[in-house]
């Protein structure tokens, strides 16, 4: 079943804190997991991505973790900044299809 579940739906974090977003999936053929960041009125932009052969990928303040056995992934943002306030989507795809299957998104607010 092609579905990606994302939580929480919304999240408020104080500036400087650590943000954690999570996703789970069901299709074991998924092997590519991007995280997209979307600001109001704009299209999504790729933030970071991970392949199923890895369990961690880091890019500055952003780290994504992948657990193949549990079919879960997470996005951690350290030293969260007000400029990180946006909606974050996880997504997944596999070799058998071309389309990205998207989570429902997390609206993140970073309070100064």
């Amino acid at each position: 079943q092609q579905q990606v579940r994302q939580s929480p739906q919304s999240l408020t974090v104080w500036e400087g804190g650590t943000t954690v977003l999570t996703c789970s999936y069901e299709d074991s053929t998924f092997n590519y997991f991007p995280w997209y960041q979307q600001f109001p009125g704009e299209g999504p932009a790729l933030l970071i991505s991970i392949l199923s052969v890895s369990d961690k990928k880091e890019d500055g303040r952003f780290t994504t973790f992948f657990n193949k056995r549990e079919k879960k992934l997470s996005l951690h943002i350290i030293d969260s900044q007000p400029g990180d306030s946006a909606t974050y989507f996880c997504a997944a795809s596999g070799d058998s299809n071309y389309q990205l299957i998207w989570g429902s998104g997390t609206k993140l607010i970073i309070k100064p």
């Binding site: 009125g41 299209g43 795809s93 990205l100 998207w102 998104g105």
Partner: protein, 114 residues
């Protein structure tokens, strides 16, 4: 970075009319996509297009929908006739290749069907 352009940014039409949404993808990209997003919520895949053909489409890609990219010009999404439930923001994306290649998204076209 690479830019995907979409024209128009906002379109208001009456139910039953035809509408064409235009996308100018990244110049050397070969794969093109349309997504639908309602109220800033979940992105839903509509269709993927490569080498002049629809490669994959979802159940949201109704018979009233069609895509084309004549002679390397705009990649278009046509809806004919439109229905009230077609009101949404439509995003175009393009990628160099399929699979692990980044999809670059345009700013979206907000379609309002009255």
């Amino acid at each position: 970075g690479p830019k995907v352009l979409q024209i128009p940014s906002h379109q208001i039409i009456d139910m039953g009319q035809m509408v064409t949404l235009n996308c100018d993808p990244v110049s050397n990209h070969l794969y093109f996509y349309w997504y639908k997003q309602i109220l800033g919520q979940q992105m839903e895949f509509l269709v993927n297009f490569y080498n002049g053909k629809v490669m994959e489409k979802s159940k949201l890609f109704k018979d009233q929908f069609s895509v084309e990219r004549p002679d390397g010009s705009y990649f278009t999404l046509k809806i004919q006739p439109t229905a009230l439930e077609d009101s949404a923001v439509y995003f175009c994306a393009s990628s160099l290749d399929r699979g692990y290649y980044e999809q670059y998204f345009g700013p979206g076209t907000r379609l309002t069907v009255l």
